[in-house]
Structures are given as structure tokens and as C-alpha cells.
């Protein structure tokens, strides 16, 4: 049994826009990081789906690359969140805007 490529792409698109909405709407940096993670994985899903459909293994390789980068990004992002929390005593990204022009 096989699932049509269009379904994968549609799911990927939905996931991506859920992630985008999360980043834009939410103010908690932890939730925003999770939303970003969602966008990564939407892209991963699309890559894997296309790779399978067209039998092009480069897509698989890219997924591993994205997972690695996402892990690094999460580590740095969380470190920043912790550092900001220590200074500002709150985790609202709109309040952390002392560098604005």
C-alpha cells in the first residue's frame, strides 16, 4: 500500500504554517522554539517524501543535516533563553527589546 505524494506535501505544508503561526503569535520563547522545530520537520517530511518518490538519496542526506542543525539550534536557543531569563526575570520576547532602534 502506498500513500499519494500529494498527501505528504499537504501535511508538510500544514505543519509548516502551524509553525509559522506559532512563531508569530506566541510570546513565550520556549513555545517559539518548538514552533521553529515544527517548521524544520515539515521541511524534513517534504524532503523525505520527494526523495522516496524520485529515488534521489540526496534528500535523505539533507534530512540528517537538518536534524543536526536543528539540534544545535535548539541548544543555542535554549542557552539564550536561560541567559535572558537570568537578566530580565521574565520570558516574554516582546519585553526583551532593549536593542531596538
Amino acid at each position: 500500500m502506498s500513500v499519494d505524494l500529494a498527501n505528504y506535501v499537504a501535511l508538510s505544508g500544514v505543519m509548516f504554517f502551524v509553525g509559522v503561526a506559532g512563531v508569530i503569535v506566541r510570546r513565550n520563547p520556549l513555545i517559539m522554539l518548538m514552533a521553529i522545530e515544527l517548521m524544520f520537520n515539515a521541511a524534513n517530511l517534504a524532503l523525505v517524501a520527494f526523495a522516496r518518490a524520485w529515488v534521489a538519496n540526496a534528500g535523505h542526506v539533507f534530512v540528517f543535516l537538518v536534524i543536526t542543525v536543528a539540534a544545535a539550534e535548539a541548544a543555542i536557543g535554549l542557552a539564550i533563553v536561560v541567559a535572558v531569563f537570568r537578566r530580565a526575570k521574565n520570558v516574554d520576547v516582546d519585553e526583551v527589546a532593549s536593542m531596538h532602534g
Binding site: V20, V23, I24, V25, R27, M32, V93, D94, V96, A97, S98, M99, H100, G101
Partner: protein
């Protein structure tokens, strides 16, 4: 050691000394003076050792350095002319170095002083040893730089700084003349080597030769203090006295004589250029002597006498009597160095008093300095059997021989003036009452503020350190002229051999008077000068009321002499003030309204753009994310709607 190695070594040793003194001098303290003197004296020994090699065969010693392209090769060349200069630079220079150890004994910056002195010796050797016009120009520029350093050595004196700057600017003007001459020579002959240039000198058009000679002579006139570029030399006396003796009497200021003698084949092929050199030399000779009469500062008297004597030399090489002009350089180096060093002993003992009106009676306090000054004075006056007698006589008679009766008369007259102002200095300094305690106003001295020297007191230099070099110089001061004994077969003419064969003017004019008459005429005027000086300053009646007489003379000094014939004022009016006015105009208009305004406007533009774009930097992460989304949507829309992909 081969001859070439010795030549490299004697050239580079002073440079090594200068670098070592710059790097480690302050740690050596007074040892710096000994190191500086030692390298120059070793150079002298090496140069003396090469004497036989130079006089033995044609061409002398030649040592290549680097070759860039064909015709553009650098090298060192030791021929009779450059050997003579090298021996004086390192020999007299070495003695002055030793003297300077005593003179600068209590100066904190003695290491810097000797570093500069060694650097000067290296630069001067570069000038005379170069076998090509470009190397000569490099040395020419470097001696100007060394002179600048040393005139302004006491840089906390504003007058010394001003004098250094003036000397440098006038000399750079002269360097320009030489530079253009060098360009023209290279363009015309395709080579920078003296040998090639002179071999092709005959093929150049006469107009080009005159142009090249004028360019060269502008440089010579600036360096050798010829009218009207002489005004820096009296001011240069702001430097320490050993500097005046070495650079502004014995060596650097005679570079112009070297230049004309070196380019003898070129100058000799152009009567117009020779005439110019001779006339400027004669004019300088007279001007220097006349102004020497009106000076009160012992070093300025000597400075004007230097200018006058270099006038003699330039006149000598100008009329074509090259051996005579160069001989006067040779004897002058000894007696003028001796006079300056003797004056230095006096100045040192009187704690930097230089005004002869404040001296007097010093014969009883400093007998050694008196005898040194007396011998030097007799030599410079051309007193019989002293060195200057032979060289000055040769130049004066040479002018007549080569068909310049007016210059001959000027030379005779100047000899009388020289005797007058030199004995005036001698009588006023050493005889009559000591006037050091007499108030300045009574002697007609204008009040002036002088900043104190930065000196370490406590120890004094041993007297022999300053006396020994002067004592050694006494010997050549008396005997140096004897090289001319024997006429055409004399050691002097044999030494130069064929050096000036091409340079000597062919047929000589029939002299108006025979040589013995010329000599007698000079002697008569010299005697007259000495007698007048004695009556005015040395006779018992003159000594008795010396204070009143000197005060009267100072007050009654003609303005023309006091202002040195307004040459400084003329140069200031013609060049200095117009340039200053131009500079101020630029500073008021172009600088603030164009250059500064341009920079300010760019800064304002950057600020204005920043003020607009800073509004985008809201600090709200959502805003940035939304911007990215909109951008991405735009991209997708572009490709989807317009079919970016094929």
C-alpha cells in the same frame, strides 16, 4: 682584505655606528661618543690605506653595488677627487667626533648626537663615493637630512627649530635642481654612471648642457650657501659647535665645490655655465666678507667667513682652475675646523656666551684657545707660509689666468676684508678688558630670552679631550698648503694627474700681471686689513675704552649690514609670505568649505539614512518573523505566477 672590501667597509662602518648608537646608545652613556668616534677613525684608516691603490693606477678603486637595468647600475668609486673628500670627511670628521665627546660631555642626549653625526658621515660618504648621478643625489638629500637633525639638535630652542627648518627647505629646493639635472642626464645619455655620462657629454646640445649645469648649480648653491641661497648658513649656527665645524664648515657645505669639480667635463664644455658659477662664487665671496665685518656672534663671524671662503672655491672651480678651488677646500677644512673648535672651547668655557662684545681679555684666561684661533686666523687670511696663503693665491691668480680680471680684483679685495674681520674678532675676543660683567645695554646688545640647556652638572670633561683634536689640526693648518710647492710638478698636481685633463680650459689668457705681482697685491691688502683691525680694536687706545667703542659701533651699524642686505626679507617677501598667504587662503576657503564640508556631508547622509532605517528595528521578534513570511510569500508568488521555473 681586498680594495673593494675595504671600500665597502669604510662606507658602511659609519652607518653601522649610527644604527648601533640609535639602538644601544643611551645604555652606553659617554661610551657612545667613543664608539661613534672609533668607527669614523677606522673609516679614515681604511681610506688612507687605499691611497696607494687610487693614485697608483687609472680609474682608482671601483666596487659595484646593485644593477637594476642596463645603464642603471649603482656602485662605489674611489678616485683622486672622492678620495680627497673621503679623507677629509673621515679624518677631520674623526677629530671633530673626539672633540665632541668633550663638548657634549654633560648633554643628556649625547648618544643621539653621535648617532646623527655618524649618520651624517655615512650620508656624506654616499655623496662623494657614488659612481653615478642617482647615488650622488641620494647622498645629497641625506646630508641635508643629517644637517636638519643636527641644527635642530637642541630642539627645545625655538630658534634652533626654525633654523633647522629653514636650512632643510632651502636645501630641498636645491635638491630639486639636481633632480631635474639627473633626469635630463639620464634621458639624454641613457645611463646614470659618471663614466658613461661624461663619455657622451660631447654629443649633447649646448642648450641642454647649460640647462643641466644650471640645475646642478642650483643644488650646489643651496648646499654651499651661495648668494642668494646662503641665508640658512648663519642661522645654522644654532646647532652645537662641533656640528658647525664638521657640517657647516669642513665638509657638507663644500659639497657644491665637489659637484662642480665632479661634473667638470660638463661645466667645461659650456662657457656660459662656467661664467654663471664663477660670478655667483665671486658675488658670494664678497658678500660673505662684507657681512662678516658686521657680526658680533663669534660663530656667525665664522659662518660668514665660511660662506666667503666657499665663494672663493666656487669661483675657482667656476673659472676652470679646478685644482686651485679644490685645494682651497682642502686647506679650508683644516683651518676652519680649527677656528670653529677653538671658538667652541671659548663658548664652552664661558657657558654658551657667543657674543664677542661680552668677551675680551680671554688671552690671559685661555692661552691654548688663543693660539689655536691665531693660527686659524693667519691661515684663513692668507698670511705667508700658512696653508690658506697657497690656496687663496692659486684661486685669485687662477681667475686672472682664465681671463676674469674683475673676479681677480674682487678676490684680492675680499682677501683684505677677510684679514680685517678675522683680526677684528681676534682682538675683540682676546684683548682689552673682560666685558662679561658689563651690562648688555652698554654694549648695544638687544635683550633676548634663551632657554637653559638640559645639562647634567657634576663632572667636567678632561681638557685634553677638546684640546688634542685642535692641537692635531694645527699641523695641517700651517703646512697643508705646501703640497703646492714645485708648481706644475707639485704633489698636488701629480695627485690629481689626469683627473681634470678634460676639465681645464684650453688656452689661458695672457695674465695682466705676473704671479708674483698678484701675490704681492694680495699680501698688501691682507696687511692693510690687519693694520686697520689693529688700529680699531687692538691698539692700546682702542682697548682702553673698548666698551664705549663697541657700544657705539653696534649702535651705528648700517641697517643694510644689520639686515644682511635684506636677502632674508627679500626671500620672505617673494616666497615665504606669499606661500603663507596662499596656505591661509586654503585654510580659510578650500579646507573648511570643500574638503571638511564633503566629509561632514557624508557623515550627515549616513546619519540621516540610519534615522530612517532604525525605525525597522522594533525589537519585536514577531515583526521580523512576519517580514520573513511576507518575503517568502512574495518569492513563491513570483515563481508561481510568472513561471520562474521552466
Amino acid at each position: 682584505m681586498t680594495n673593494e672590501t675595504a671600500l665597502y667597509a669604510l662606507w658602511l662602518l659609519p652607518l653601522a655606528g649610527a644604527i648601533a648608537l640609535w639602538a644601544f646608545g643611551p645604555a652606553l652613556k659617554r661610551g657612545a661618543g667613543w664608539l661613534g668616534s672609533a668607527v669614523v677613525l677606522v673609516s679614515f684608516v681604511l681610506a688612507a690605506a687605499l691611497f696607494g691603490a687610487v693614485t697608483g693606477g687609472p680609474g682608482g678603486v671601483h666596487a659595484p653595488l646593485v644593477t637594476w637595468t642596463a645603464g642603471f647600475a649603482f656602485g662605489l668609486q674611489l678616485d683622486p677627487l672622492s678620495l680627497l673628500w673621503t679623507l677629509i670627511i673621515t679624518g677631520v670628521g674623526g677629530l671633530i667626533h673626539v672633540y665632541a665627546i668633550g663638548y657634549m660631555w654633560s648633554d643628556r642626549a649625547i648618544a643621539r648626537f653621535f648617532a646623527y653625526l655618524n649618520f651624517f658621515v655615512f650620508a656624506m660618504l654616499t655623496l662623494v663615493l657614488s659612481d653615478n648621478v642617482v647615488g650622488l643625489l641620494v647622498g645629497w638629500g641625506l646630508v641635508g637630512l643629517a644637517s636638519y637633525f643636527l641644527i635642530g639638535f637642541w630642539f627645545y630652542k625655538p630658534s634652533a627649530v626654525a633654523a633647522a627648518r629653514k636650512a632643510f627647505v632651502i636645501n630641498v629646493f636645491g635638491d630639486l635642481g639636481i633632480m631635474y639635472a639627473v633626469f635630463a642626464l639620464y634621458a639624454a645619455t641613457g645611463s646614470i654612471a659618471f663614466a658613461d655620462v661624461f663619455a657622451k657629454a660631447g654629443t649633447l646640445s649646448s642648450g641642454l648642457v647649460v640647462a643641466i649645469c644650471v640645475g646642478l648649480f642650483i643644488g650646489a648653491a643651496a648646499k654651499s650657501a651661495q648668494v642668494p641661497l646662503h641665508t640658512w648658513l648663519p642661522d645654522a649656527m644654532e646647532g652645537p659647535t662641533p656640528v658647525s665645524a664638521l657640517i657647516h664648515a669642513a665638509t657638507m657645505v663644500t659639497a657644491g665645490v665637489y659637484l662642480v669639480a665632479r661634473f667638470a667635463p660638463l661645466f667645461s664644455s659650456s662657457p656660459a655655465a662656467q661664467e654663471m658659477v664663477a660670478v655667483v662664487g665671486g658675488l658670494t665671496m664678497v658678500t660673505g666678507a662684507v657681512l662678516g665685518v658686521a657680526q658680533w656672534d663669534i660663530k656667525r663671524i665664522l659662518a660668514y667667513s665660511t660662506m666667503s671662503q666657499i665663494g672663493y672655491m666656487i669661483m675657482g672651480v667656476g673659472v676652470g682652475a679646478y685644482q686651485a678651488g679644490v685645494l682651497h677646500f682642502f686647506t679650508h677644512a683644516f683651518f676652519k675646523a680649527q677656528l670653529f673648535l677653538g671658538a667652541g672651547i671659548i663658548i664652552h668655557a664661558l657657558h654658551d656666551e657667543q657674543d664677542v662684545r661680552k668677551m675680551g681679555g680671554l688671552y690671559f684666561r685661555m692661552k691654548f684657545a688663543f693660539w689655536a684661533m691665531l693660527l686659524g686666523t693667519l691661515a684663513i687670511c692668507g698670511f705667508p707660509f700658512f696653508s690658506g696663503f697657497y690656496s687663496k693665491d692659486a684661486i685669485v691668480y687662477g681667475a686672472l689666468e682664465h681671463g676674469h680680471p674683475v673676479l681677480f680684483l674682487a678676490g684680492v679685495l675680499t682677501a683684505g676684508l677677510t684679514a680685517y674681520y678675522m683680526f677684528r674678532m681676534l682682538f675683540v675676543t682676546f684683548f682689552g678688558p673682560y666685558r662679561g660683567e658689563v651690562p648688555d645695554e652698554m654694549l648695544g646688545i638687544a635683550p633676548q630670552a634663551q632657554p637653559a640647556h638640559e645639562e647634567e652638572h657634576g663632572s667636567h670633561a678632561p681638557a685634553w679631550l677638546m684640546q688634542a683634536p685642535v692641537a692635531i689640526l694645527m699641523v695641517p693648518t700651517v703646512v697643508a698648503g705646501y703640497v703646492l710647492w714645485g708648481g706644475a710638478a707639485s704633489p698636488w698636481y701629480r695627485y690629481f694627474g689626469s683627473t681634470f685633463a678634460a676639465g681645464e680650459n684650453g688656452p689661458l689668457a695672457a695674465p695682466l700681471v705676473p704671479e708674483w705681482a698678484s701675490t704681492l697685491l694680495v699680501l698688501a691688502l691682507v696687511t692693510a686689513g690687519i693694520v686697520v683691525a689693529y688700529l680699531r680694536y687692538g691698539a692700546p687706545a682702542a682697548r682702553a675704552d673698548a666698551v664705549a667703542r663697541l657700544g657705539r659701533e653696534a649702535a651705528g651699524m648700517p641697517v643694510a649690514l644689520r639686515r644682511a642686505f635684506w636677502v632674508d626679507d627679500l626671500l620672505a617677501a617673494l616666497f615665504v609670505r606669499p606661500l603663507q598667504a596662499f596656505g591661509e587662503l586654503i585654510a580659510r576657503t578650500l579646507d573648511p568649505h570643500v574638503i571638511d564640508a564633503g566629509v561632514r556631508d557624508f557623515a550627515w547622509l549616513a546619519g540621516a539614512l540610519g534615522a530612517i532605517f532604525r525605525r525597522l528595528q522594533t525589537g519585536l521578534v514577531r515583526g521580523y518573523a512576519l517580514t520573513i513570511v511576507i518575503g517568502a510569500a512574495g518569492f513563491i508568488a513570483y515563481f508561481a505566477l510568472l513561471g520562474g521555473a521552466k
